[in-house]
């Protein structure tokens, strides 16, 4: 790195990307994205899910090539052809997914990326990771450790610009603190940092500026000051977009009596899910709120028959059940819509086949298909959900919203008594969201019980009757929907009791 005077640093941005666009087939992921990072600056790159953040990151780091636009580093234009080139030109990323090789030990991973061992170990220490051995197999290390190693590896390269993509998501709190401190000191040394996070608290603590991406274009660049969050959120969502008024019927379910549809007592699974108990009555939508990785994934996987619980009971209509396979859960009337649509869809097959899939999974359905009946029930589902079937081919070509409708529609066609929705509106457009809320209410009115996990707190009052908050694998709060506002939920989700929230 050359030594620069202060003015020079001011004058030439470390990284300047302008007018970057990228299309995948007919889908335009980026139309006009830009980002400028000056020396000593920490810039937050924010955007709602699907705004094109990950594509932009991939272009900046050379994983993808842009269709148009240019990226300059220290004033000279670079064609970042590969991650290796990006690294050499001074931009070092820490990706969301670990980039360490699982079957090599730590030392060999360092050799592979030409990372000097000494500085790396210093940074590992600095970041507060204890007890690391260089001959540890990477595949055996926990995720949080891998994130720290990735960061230490990047820091050891002495980058000009450091790109951190959701660096803190998988870290425990003490490591988050240390990480933020280290990142800040990096900026103070004159390096540039691009910081991507969905935690506003971290952004307001750490960043100088926030660059906002919406629908593939950079729509704003704000200095981070106290209170700027609202403005950022507004720009992220776009003007005039509201999530809509509560759907009729929310919270109106009179305290139901009788046997609950589903009772869960003391459920525990692995290290993540330690003690969860709750009940859902017929016709009820139970919301579930939690920070990432608090055991909600395991809870859903246990209820859908993918995982077997270590402890605890599941009762359906008062009768204990144990699911050994998703087929058992389905037979008991449970329908599971996973958070990742790619997990549930046959991307290369048609909408029709995707919806009809559960018809043929059990042995009785292996024979000739009753085409007329199937066409009728699939057609009804498509109509009811208004699934866009103009692209007659693969589901892969549908928009996220339509794909999500297909995964839900599959279960409408077979029927269910208990619907498990894991973040069904993640990364889908507002219009589809507004179709999904009333659908959920409608299904509940017809007697289904629905467990609705959401990562977007403002959805809770729109669809749920009650909300369950879990933290660290335990239920920490159960709130009626009228008591559930963003602040009570957030406080509960962070493990602070809601009573404190009311008091303070």
């Amino acid at each position: 790195m050359s030594v620069m005077t202060a003015e020079e640093r001011e004058a030439v941005p470390l990284l300047d990307a302008k007018g970057v666009s990228k299309s995948f087939g007919t889908v335009r992921a980026l139309s006009d994205a830009g980002l400028k990072v000056n020396a000593g600056e920490i810039v937050a790159l924010v955007g709602a899910n699907g705004a094109g953040k990950s594509t932009f990151v991939k272009i900046l780091t050379g994983v993808l090539q842009p269709d148009s636009g240019n990226v300059t580093i220290r004033g000279s234009e670079v064609h970042v052809g590969s991650p290796a080139k990006a690294r050499r030109s001074g931009l070092v990323p820490v990706y969301q997914e670990p980039s360490l090789i699982p079957d090599l030990d730590v030392r060999n991973n360092l050799r592979l990326s030409d990372t000097p061992e000494g500085p790396f170990l210093n940074w590992v220490n600095e970041l507060g990771l204890r007890g690391l051995r260089l001959d540890d197999m990477v595949g055996h290390l926990p995720l949080a450790t891998l994130r720290i190693l990735d960061l230490a590896k990047a820091l050891a390269c002495e980058p000009d610009v450091l790109l951190l993509d959701e660096m803190t998501a998988a870290l425990p709190t003490d490591l988050v603190e240390r990480t933020l401190r280290v990142v800040r000191s990096q900026a103070e040394c004159g390096r540039g940092v691009i910081f991507i996070s969905h935690r506003f608290s971290e952004i307001s603590q750490l960043c100088h500026r926030a660059s906002i991406l919406r629908d593939g274009a950079t729509v704003g660049d704000l200095a981070v000051r106290p209170g700027v969050e609202d403005r950022v959120v507004e720009m992220m969502l776009g003007a005039g977009v509201e999530t809509g008024a509560p759907v009729t019927g929310v919270g109106h379910v009179a305290r139901p009596r009788g046997t609950p549809r589903l009772e869960v007592e003391g459920l525990a699974q692995g290290g993540k899910l330690s003690d969860v108990s709750f009940e859902i009555h017929p016709g009820e939508v139970l919301g579930l709120v939690a920070l990432e990785g608090q055991g909600q994934d395991e809870l859903f996987e246990v209820l859908s028959g993918l995982l077997r619980p270590d402890r605890g009971v599941i009762l359906i209509d008062g009768t204990p059940v144990s699911f050994r396979h998703p087929a058992d859960a389905i037979a008991a009337g449970f329908a599971y819509v996973p958070g990742d649509r790619a997990e549930a869809l046959l991307m290369e097959r048609s909408v029709h086949e995707n919806i009809a899939l559960p018809f043929s999974t059990h042995l009785g359905g292996w024979g000739p298909i009753r085409l007329r009946r199937e066409r009728a029930s699939v057609g009804e589902t498509i109509n009811r959900l208004q699934i866009d079937t103009r692209a007659r081919g693969a589901v892969r070509r549908l928009s996220g919203g339509n794909q999500q409708k297909v995964t839900i529609g599959r279960w409408l066609a077979v029927g269910f008594r208990m619907l498990l929705l894991f973040d069904p509106t993640r990364g889908i457009d507002v219009r589809t969201k507004r179709q999904i809320y009333p659908l959920v209410r409608q299904l509940a009115e017809r007697g289904a019980s629905i467990l609705y996990y959401t990562s977007e707190l403002d959805e809770v009052p729109l669809v749920c009757d009650r909300v369950l908050v879990i933290f660290n694998g335990c239920v920490v709060a159960t709130l009626a929907v009228r008591d559930a506002n963003e602040s009570t939920l957030v406080r509960a989700a962070y493990g602070l009791s809601p009573r404190d929230a009311c008091g303070g």
């Binding site: 991650p83 997914e97 699982p102 050799r111 995982l307």
Partner: protein
């Protein structure tokens, strides 16, 4: 120490199994001794090279169905060229043969990378191609091989270490000369990284395509060694590929290299070659129908992999 054992548990287990089997063989046939080991090693030589070739490709995350055909090509190349060659030029021929192997491997690898067709399909097609090339070079078994090469695989080292078969030394020498420097180098790391997680390797700055080509080229080199050794043992070139494809897959799997890549080494598969050869020998010594050995080999391969599969399944059920 415990970590070292844990890391090499599979190899240690294989070595123990081999030792046990050698002991059992001695029990069945008290005369089994130096000469028995010598002929066992000689028979294992081409299998060991074929297995080494397969192992390298499997580690990088591919599979090469054309190993036996490439061995045939190099075998006949050597046999034809050496027919009228003196000792001096036979050395040149040896090197030329090795080069041919590398070239064939490079072609395989480049085709896999460039066409983006799955490894198994490309190498299936190349199986036919190399088989045809071998037939074009030599239509029926024939040719000759230099005497010094034939002598290199027969008998012991002489002197106090006469009990060490030359074939074993040749095998260990060739494989280590090729593999140890590679494994220690960046290329070796890249090979393991590419096989382990191609996307992560790319993100770490590994030139994935070049690494895969290189792995196939190394496999080609091992095939050339295999073809040469085959010619050295029999004294002639044989254009029809031997049973090395299946045997090498079996040994690679038994040797602890996982299909899909990234794990294992060459030592395990080589020990596995000896185990499989020894079982064959034992069954012959026990006057068991030689055909039963085929069943046993297949069954061992299937059972080992099944047990491995069931164990990982059990481990995954958290």
């Amino acid at each position: 120490m415990t970590r070292w054992i844990g890391k090499h548990a599979w190899n240690i287990g294989l070595a123990a199994l081999l030792a046990a089997l050698l002991g059992v063989t001695k029990l069945i046939q008290p005369e089994f001794g130096v000469s028995g080991v010598e002929s066992l090693t000689r028979a294992a030589l081409p299998f060991a090279f074929a297995t080494a070739a397969m192992a390298v490709v499997v580690i990088v995350g591919g599979i090469d169905l054309s190993v036996a055909s490439m061995m045939a090509v190099t075998g006949v190349t050597a046999a034809v060229l050496m027919q009228h060659a003196g000792d001096g030029s036979s050395v040149a021929v040896t090197f030329l043969t090795l080069l041919v192997g590398v070239a064939m491997g490079t072609v395989n690898g480049s085709l896999v990378v460039l066409t983006k067709v799955p490894d198994i399909v490309v190498t299936l097609a190349m199986l036919f191609v190399w088989e045809g090339v071998a037939l074009l070079i030599l239509e029926a078994p024939g040719g000759a091989v230099a005497d010094w090469l034939m002598a290199a695989v027969v008998g012991g080292l002489g002197g106090v270490v006469d009990w060490v078969p030359r074939a074993l030394i040749l095998m260990v020498f060739c494989i280590s000369v090729v593999w140890v420097p590679i494994k220690r180098s960046r290329l070796g790391l890249s090979i393991y990284a590419t096989g382990s997680d191609r996307a992560a390797a790319f993100r770490s700055g590994v030139a994935v395509g070049r690494t895969r080509v290189a792995a196939y080229a190394v496999a080609g080199l091992f095939c050339a060694l295999g073809g040469l050794s085959l010619t050295m043992i029999t004294g002639i070139g044989e254009p029809v590929p031997g049973p090395y494809l299946l045997a090498s897959v079996a040994a690679v799997v038994l040797g602890g290299v996982t299909l899909g890549g990234g794990r294992g080494g060459l030592l395990g598969p080589i020990i596995a070659v000896f185990i499989l050869r020894l079982i064959r020998l034992m069954l012959t010594l026990m006057a068991v129908d030689p055909n039963v050995t085929t069943i046993v080999e297949g069954a061992i391969m299937v059972i080992v992999v099944m047990i491995g599969g069931l164990l990982t399944l059990k481990g995954r059920r958290r």
